[in-house]
Symmetry: C2
């Protein structure tokens, strides 16, 4: 049996979180993983969605995520955890990760995917080694889109105050509708923390509900979307992990101790394959919430994880992602077209269609079938066309 999670009782007497500018002691962690299978063939296993500019902003999702975090964590306060095979592409997109003033890399490459707890836990352990016990980390996935910077920053600043008080703080996104694509977090009483008036107790998490359940959630006014953003002191996170999954915590500690020294590769090769594969939601968020150790800070900004082409279409100002000169629509004004192969794409009278053209694969589907695109990826895998995946 895991031990009872630690519940904060006495807030630590940290300095106030500043209302503007980088937050002292705060580090942003960006897990950059996930294949984005439902965005195939735009997103590929070798070039997943976070490496793409999916919004037409001129910045990839990863770059936009880092851009959003630098004002909160400072230019040397953002750390990315990604798979070994994507490390070069990440470094190319965010060259500043390769070294800060102290010469420490802020790009952590995993030898293989071992789920979010290992990724975020490794970052927490490395930050603890490098910066000591007071470090607070915020984890923000590399493939999410946010509109509303000021509100995002406010939520994170309050979240850091909640984290300094010992809580695992999650950001609860204001739901724009009873989505069945996201999990939900339920808020309880306000915590009354100094400098964090909107932070409440989190009563618990639920996985993706059906639509009726989702609507019932929203009717209570207590539920928000769980965006998987966590803000927590690195020490608190690792203490929770030590209580829940001691072997995993010990492995991460060993890795972190060796990370900035000559033995990193050896220790990684030994330890990494032994780490428990588990999502941070199951490893920490759910059991700690049940024990009262999780808080939720409301985030009233627009947010999406661009899970599929319907979601992508909803985010774009124009229904073309790419060069509109390559696209001709006849009787199909809402056709979502990604002209990614340099060819022209003509759509004649197919309402709701989605057309993605790439160098080796053309996909035609509809917004209504966007969730089924994974079946195409499965189909090509079955045919042995791993080159397409």
């Amino acid at each position: 049996m895991p031990s009872e999670p630690t519940v904060p009782t006495v807030p630590t007497p940290d300095a106030d979180v500043p209302a503007t500018g980088p937050i002292p002691g705060f580090h942003a962690v960006v897990p950059a993983g996930g294949a984005g299978t439902r965005l195939w063939p735009l997103s590929r296993s070798g070039h997943p969605k976070f490496l793409h500019d999916l919004t037409g902003s001129g910045r990839t999702l990863l770059q936009a995520t880092v851009d959003r975090l630098v004002p909160l964590a400072g230019p040397e306060g953002v750390l990315v955890v990604t798979g070994h095979r994507h490390a070069a592409a990440v470094a190319e997109q965010v060259p500043a990760l390769l070294a800060d003033a102290a010469g420490a890399e802020r790009l952590l490459a995993e030898p293989s995917p071992r789920d979010s707890m290992a990724a975020i836990g490794l970052a927490a352990a490395v930050l603890l080694e490098r910066h000591g016990d007071d470090v607070v980390l915020g984890s923000f996935a590399a493939d999410q889109v946010i509109d509303g910077t000021a509100e995002f920053e406010r939520a994170v600043r309050e979240g850091v105050a909640g984290a300094r008080a010992g809580y695992v703080v999650t950001v609860g996104i204001r739901a724009t509708g009873p989505s069945t694509a996201f999990g939900y977090v339920r808020s309880g009483e306000p915590l009354g923390l100094p400098g964090a008036p909107t932070v409440h107790h989190a009563l618990g998490f639920t996985e993706k509900p059906d639509e009726e359940t989702a609507a019932a959630y929203l009717a209570t006014g207590e539920y928000r979307w769980n965006a998987g953003m966590f803000i927590v002191r690195a020490r608190v996170l690792l203490d929770h992990l030590a209580a829940q999954l001691p072997a995993l915590a010990e492995g991460l500690r060993t890795l972190a101790a060796a990370w900035d020294g000559p033995d990193r590769a050896t220790v990684l090769a030994d330890v990494w394959p032994t780490l428990t594969k588990i999502a941070i939601d199951h490893a920490i968020a759910e059991p700690v919430a049940a024990a009262g150790g999780v808080a939720v800070v409301p985030g009233d900004f627009a947010w999406d994880d661009i899970g599929d082409f319907a979601s992508l279409g909803g985010l774009l100002a124009s229904p073309t992602l790419g060069d509109d000169a390559l696209v001709l629509r006849v009787g199909a004004p809402d056709a979502l077209v990604v002209p990614g192969g340099g060819r022209t794409v003509s759509v004649v009278g197919v309402p709701g269609v989605v057309v993605v053209d790439t160098a080796d694969a053309v996909l035609v589907t509809t917004r209504a079938h966007a969730q089924s695109v994974k079946a195409a990826v499965d189909g090509w895998r079955e045919r042995g066309r791993d080159d397409l995946l």
Copy 2:
């Protein structure tokens, strides 16, 4: 006013048309023109539909048309009329056209398009020069598909008998439904010609009707589709033309007299641009029918002119035109896919969709919108992308 068309009164005492083997004195003319705009981007102005294998048979429409006519006209009895820019491609597909035993080319290249009367009239005049007054020609467009060779041959053999009797004979195709995509020909009384028991008077032609009118036509039992096939003695055709459009007839006579000599290019340059642009239907078929000089021979074979992708889809045994290994369908079993660019094409849940992939253009439409594909061609032309047309 044009003179009254000649109406045959005394059948010429020609020899019987043989029931098998090449028909003596019969020459097949294949007008190879038309851009096939509604089959864009498969069919392009520089590589129109008759140059494509649209049925997956391994033969292009032009080749299949020639193949179908050789048993009737003999290996040196088929002549193709095409535009100057397509002459090389036609010669490559049907090399036998370049010379027969007498050294005469059977590939007539037009300097510019001047509609079907000039094309077929030129062929008639050249055949008359080469083979004399008894020659009978049959004109069969290069981009039609026929299933039912024996019945086609029977119809043509009876048609030749009708032509020898002095008629302009058209083939009336048994309608499989009240199509609004084709014109119709109306049959009258049997002509009672020896060796041509099914040949009837043609009472007249109608252009593409609306569906209600088409259904009413079929209910009478008197109407058949007009496939634009004409069988007629070259002398009769040119005499009709001399009566209707004397300048055009004279121009064609001048061209034909010079065709096989050293002055062809000079005469072509002088005369061709002066020829009246008119369809053979309006120039000959309609006025001569009104005067009683047109006969119809029923053709009870399957026929299509592959006017658009819906028509193409109806002809194919499989919904892939090309390499099926490049196509993946999920919840879209009837998706018509032409993987013409070497890329994979995946369709997820878009019923009735049509996807055509080529090196520089991807088209997505539905069978129901097949007639609107021309609008895409117009759209690219307006944008100045003539390279795509």
